[in-house]
Amino acid sequence: MASVSMTVNGKAVSGEVEGRTLLVEFLREGLELTGTHVGCDTSQCGACVVHVNGESVKACSVLAVAVDGADIRTIEGMAAPDGTLSVLQQAFQDHHGLQCGFCTPGMVMSAADLLQKNADPSEQEVREWLEGNICRCTGYHNIVKAILAAAATLRGEKIAAE
């Protein structure tokens, strides 16, 4: 066992992990942050996407010990402390960017990484960026719409919800 400490959603946390403990296991089972989902567990679906030092990664394909000392952000860290949704989360709600919701945490975390790198992505850039996130309900259309709307809102533009 090894002890790890990291910052998760702004809070300092620590714990004991095995070498083989995955980051997603540490988050879900160690810290009880179950918003980060395990979908395929074969690194393809993206339901487990979190940010490590600001970059989106698949938490099912990263060892917890390998991110010792890192700054981690999960879906639980997206809304304000009073529960007010982030612009991106609100856009998913307004544009109906989810049905069952299982993939949504990964979609939101992946999209948040895109918008911090590219404030004005084209539809094609959004669709290419989501290559690592699989949704079996929506057909992606409203997810893409939500992300484009969130980008516009963050740039100070307004797009009507449907």
Partner: protein, 264 residues
Amino acid sequence: MYAFDYVKPASVADAVKALSAEDAQPISGGQTLIPTLKQRLGQPSALVDLTKIADLVGIEAGSDSVLVKGATTHAAVAAHEGVMQAIPGLAKLAAHIGDPQVRNRGTIGGSVANNDPAACYPAAVLGLGATVLTDRREIAADDYFQGMFTTALEEGEIVTGVRFPIPEKSAYAKFVQPASRFALTGVYAAKLKGGVRVAVTGASESGVFRWAEAEAALASNWSPEAVETLAAPAADGMIGDIHGAPDYRAHLVKVMTKRAVAAA
């Protein structure tokens, strides 16, 4: 995953030492290795993390070559100004490996050491005639790749970087396998001072290979039309699976070569 020890060396020398332990294995970005271990297809005694070694991370763009150190991520290569200017084909290749999350973790050293027959980087390394640098020697690309998942690396030898010569022009064209985003067939075509090189990934059961006929045709006439006159390479020895038959892949080699030349 079976249990293993996690080792975090601070230097290449310490990593080499840690890898001398029985069944110890290096890990870089882990985007292939961790899923493999989750399937229990391997049982290392220890994983030696190369990504925390400062000497193994970074890019040095010089006047006639670009050095990408071993634990540099695909995302870093894709976004590097020096690479984009010197070898735009290489930056674009890195920008389309896997998906954004894989690119944020996966590294050039891991890709080249694993030598997956459908990986993108081996095509660039062989197509540009790059040199693979290790903790103990330098290996020319033509000597490095020795078949599917097989390289010239010795037990415990670490890829510390890849040095790419800057070509006159080059590009990579990939026909994507839509589920995995690996190359169903990918071609890196390069016009270098020393001649033309064309390297193919994803197609052959022997891993990445050079298409000699296309190189000869393009040396005298660098154009998609020069490739058009050639017969596709033999289907014999090409990969056949549910995604594509051998003759389909052979056909794709020709198509992707034309596209790479047109894009360069």
